[in-house]
Amino acid sequence: MQEKVSRILRKTGQVFSGGGRDAGSSVFAETTAYAASTASRKAPHPFWIIVRKEMSDIMLSWRYVILLALMLLTCGASLYTAITSIKTAVPTGEAVDSFLFLRLFTVSDGTIPSFMTFVSFLGPLLGIALGFDAVNSERNKGTLSRMMAQPIHRDYVINAKFVAGISVIGLLFFALGLLIMGLGLLTLGIPPSFEEFLRMIFFLMLSVVYIAFWLNLSIAFSVRFRQPATSALSCIALWIFFSVFYTMIIEMIAKGIAPVNPTHMDQLVNYQQTVQFLLRLSPGHLFNEATMTLLMPEIRTLSLFVPPEQTYGALPSPLSVGQSLLLVWPQLTGLIAAVLVCFMAAYMMFMRQEIRSR
């Protein structure tokens, strides 16, 4: 009984003193000190302390506020264009109508891109912004060596940075996604089916994985480069390379290796497969393929050539969630692998580095 009371007292004490440690709260703390001494609760694990601090740092930073404003703006714009053009853009047909709700994420009238396009474009920027100075700024400020002198394992720091970043991104995306769903529900007046809901949740999860890739990449650069500016520029360079130049380069290569006089079907198939393989080396392409499949159930295959014996007899109906997921499983695996590779690179580099003061 006494224990219970003291626990409640302590909790209220924390709530009171959580915001500002003014004189009142310290008095309160003193009064609860006796109660606390009777039942000493274990202090939280240092890892979660770091995660908490990193999360609050991110959320209170200017760059996060700016990116949040940008995301809200794009979210509003894409929702607006989706709602205004949903009637004209969507062809009438029973199979498609049943996935009207998903159109909120994909439909665009051509002036403002859809939410899906925005995510694939701005997502990397969000990831980079949260990670490019994760380690090197701490190093430059001299706080890293101070933290390392505390009784914590070295990898807590980098793990916590990643966990904090990914939690903030996850929260943000789920909030935005659910916001769009809610607003869509209000304006369209049609509730989403469970399957649509599942598809949207998978889409949001996929977005988080994709952004996690960029987050880890930028953390790896922040371990590698001493100057935050260098790591930010390197990340942005890679981002622009993959989002603008990569397709151009692949198109050039494709022209070069295209068979001149294809005499056999296999030659064409091989050629197309090579080009597709090269395109899929870009995480952005993987993400686009996966989101399209998830948000457009009518996409039945991602390969360009489907042998007639496979299409023969197939009904032109949308896929179920499970089948769509099965279709994007390689893409998803590829993205997760890319996330892990980047994280491992950052982790290995960080563990091998010597932590000196500035």
């Binding site: 606390a36 706080t143 390392m148 505390q150 010597e354 003061s357």
Partner: protein, 344 residues
Amino acid sequence: MKQSTNMQIVDVSDAKLDAPDMRQPIISIKDLTKMYDEHTAVNQLTLSIQEGEIYGLLGPNGAGKSTTILMMLGLTEPTSGTVRVCGLDSVRQPIAVKRRVGYLPDDIGFYEDMTGYDNLMYTARLNRIPELEARQRVDAMLQRVGLSDAAKKKASTYSRGMRQRLGLAEVLLKKPEVIILDEPTLGLDPEGVRELLQLIKALSRDEGITVLLSSHHLHQVQQICDRVGIFVKGELLVEGDVPSLAKGLFLEEALTLEVGVKPINSELIAELRKLPGVVRVDEQDGLLQIGCKEDISSELSRILIESGCSLFHLQIKQYGLDEIYHRYFEGGEPNAGESKQDTP
């Protein structure tokens, strides 16, 4: 240089003779070596520090002091050799070592947008100190280092001296058995240095904390260190307390008397050389430089006056660490002392 190598042998053997009747050392380093590619940062270092001692690790920049400290905390792996702190192996149990050892890095940084209080609370939480106890300890430590008034100010507004003191408060939060301070006096004004060193000394005395501090400001450290070790190019050249170091280094010539006397002639010099305790007598700029084992100033002045000379200047010069430093690092001529430290 050859002389100094001899002295090193003497000093190390002295230390070894002393060892058996002391307690178990709280820091013991054996044959510690750290190589960076081809460069040897620390070479075969053997060192032991007793509980409650204030030990100064002295040496120029890049001598390997910081590397040694990092190895003690398990932040860098030694190439070979062992480090034991509080009886724990720093390589295998770095967390346990860091729980007992407080470390103040040389250029300490705080989270600028957090207050000094919050910075300390963060550290306290990382040390798993329960919330309420942490608050009490942070308040107590801030008071101890004289930062109670600035506790609610952001760390970005702190001056260099305040940062160092905040750093010291942070180090003390975990109630360490040993504190390691890397260049604690760097960049502080003379008053700040004095306050910080007094604080360190008081801590060592009141709480029995062992202190290891590294510095290249020799005479600052000289004031508070029980023992010093001179560390150059990764090697510990000599070790011991300041007077014995000076004694060993300067051929038993612990101090020099600067005597202004008229007239100076060769008979007088010859007579002075015969005095017991006098090692050498030289004439320099009309003053006599008399190197001697102990303070013979009163006897000397009596002899000079009895011999009918007029004595107009007598100053005792004692060799400080600066002189020792110069001798080792700059390879100066023996007893050439340009920057001797005067003692009143």
